[in-house]
């Protein structure tokens, strides 16, 4: 199935993969998130920052076509693949890592055809790519948190998603797993995919190409070095930001969220 997929554009080239212009999204008439304007190009990693309830997941649901814009415009050049947060119900699902990767082949074939040899080969190739082919037959729920995220990345690879959304993929990961996942995201961007990562870790987002700060509205969008100012962070995180005295000056710290329910 990989030979049927269109070639991926070189980094930074061509039209935007995602364009949002004054976008508003929400679940009923009242929008949860307003004034979102940004563009994601091939080869870019955008960190999506914001507090719980700030609209990160809502934005992702709009990008996945689960929510229609209430106002403004949202254009995707191609379909997005997603690496969702791990929910408990998913952990005791009777599926192997390979089964999950195979779910990425559904869009690529007519509805009456079952996954065949080509699809299985593509799924194995994607699992190899994320370093998990040896665990292909392992139950999804038995994998570690980092391994589960990588299986879901493999699913997006099988889909050949040129836009990849990751909803707080680093939450609960140990350092080694987090580094491994971060490297994988760098590789995805390097091969010309557009990557959107929702995260709580401001320091981590500094290494990426752009940051999108959300707090029920778009606070800022731009390269991290210029965008992540004190004012922007304060407006993004509101009261959960504190200054800590440190030798030679003060340092900002963002309080960890009190609870981990999803912001939808």
């Amino acid at each position: 199935m990989s030979d049927a997929s269109p070639p991926i554009a070189p980094p930074g080239a061509g039209a935007a993969l995602v364009t949002a212009a004054d976008l508003a999204v929400g679940y009923s008439a009242a929008p949860v998130l307003t004034g979102v304007s940004f563009a994601l190009h091939a080869g870019e990693r955008i960190g999506v920052l914001g507090p719980n309830g700030g609209g990160k997941t809502t934005l992702f649901r709009a990008l996945l076509d689960e929510l229609r814009p209430l106002a403004g415009e949202l254009r995707l050049a191609v379909r997005a693949g997603t690496v969702p947060q791990t929910e408990r119900s998913r952990l005791d699902f009777p599926v192997s890592a390979l089964d999950v990767a195979l779910m990425g082949t559904i869009a690529g074939r007519p509805w009456w055809r079952r996954p065949g040899r080509a699809e299985r080969a593509a799924a194995h190739a994607a699992l190899r790519r994320v370093g998990l082919d040896a665990l292909a037959e392992r139950s999804f729920g038995e994998l570690s948190g980092g391994q589960r995220q990588r299986v879901l990345v493999a699913r997006a690879l099988v889909q050949d998603a040129r836009i990849v959304l990751l909803d707080e993929p680093f939450t609960g990961l140990d350092n080694v797993s987090a580094q491994r996942l971060e490297q994988l995201l760098d590789e995805l961007a390097a091969e010309g995919r557009g990557v959107l990562i929702a995260t709580h870790d401001v320091d981590q987002a500094r290494a990426w190409d752009q940051v999108l700060c959300l707090n029920r509205r778009q606070v800022a969008f731009g390269p991290p070095a210029q965008t992540l100012t004190l004012d922007v962070l304060a407006a993004t995180y509101g009261r959960s930001i504190v200054t800590l005295p440190q030798d030679g000056g003060e340092r900002l710290a963002i309080l960890p969220p009190h609870h981990h329910d999803h912001d939808h």
Partner: protein
Amino acid sequence: MFEAFDYPFMQRALVELLVLSIAAGTLGTWIVLRGLAFYSHGVAAAAFPGLVLADGLGFSAALGAFGVALLFALTVGRLAAREEGGHDALTALVLVAALAIGVVLASDVFESGANVETLLFGSLLAIGADDIRLAALVSALALLATFVLGQRWLAAGFDPGAARSLGIRSPVADLVLLALIALAAVATLSAVGALLATALLVVPAATTRLLTRRLLPWHLATVALAAAEGTAGLWLSFETNAPPGATIAVIAGGGFALVALGRAAAAGLTHLRARKVVAA
């Protein structure tokens, strides 16, 4: 000991149960996986007024039941399959309304009171060739649909938020599942009745769920268990002169309780051993 199965009516009942367990086993697995247990109880109960109407007006019972069940599937079922919550109360409401309408129709409009118990609890010992044919049709459809649409049902249940992104854009696959469950519920009516349909459709799958970790073994184990519990229930009902539908339901419930207890005991034992290892 097994001379019970020398009687033709017992043989027909046995064939009906064995054929039915193929549908109940494959669909039961999806019912449990997708959280549609209450829906399947509701859709079986909703078929009851359809049966009464068919009986009173003299058209095919299966047609009447399936008509009403399909209506239920397209309204309440669609909400249930979306897994957004809030459909439980609606399911309960429609379920009670269906039972009440069925009883009123049976007792006051068509005065077919004697039939009500048969419709609610099945008449396994009066199975006809038509019942077996319907069961065979449903089983064949359940196998075919599982073969073709299984991956979509699995993917949509695993990650509902990503379904559209994965290419499952149309709700047709889920509607087929809901309609098939409705059809299977109708097919089980003649065997165990509207109120006990879940004894075949849900309980065996919920039991084997505790013992399997992949879809295919789960499907196979559920078909085998449904067949075994159906056969055991039928035989026991003959020996004890108890109603067969209820006997099957009791055996299925007992089977689930035993497996659940066994698993809890095994988990407790493992924990105890781990404590000893730590203490040593």
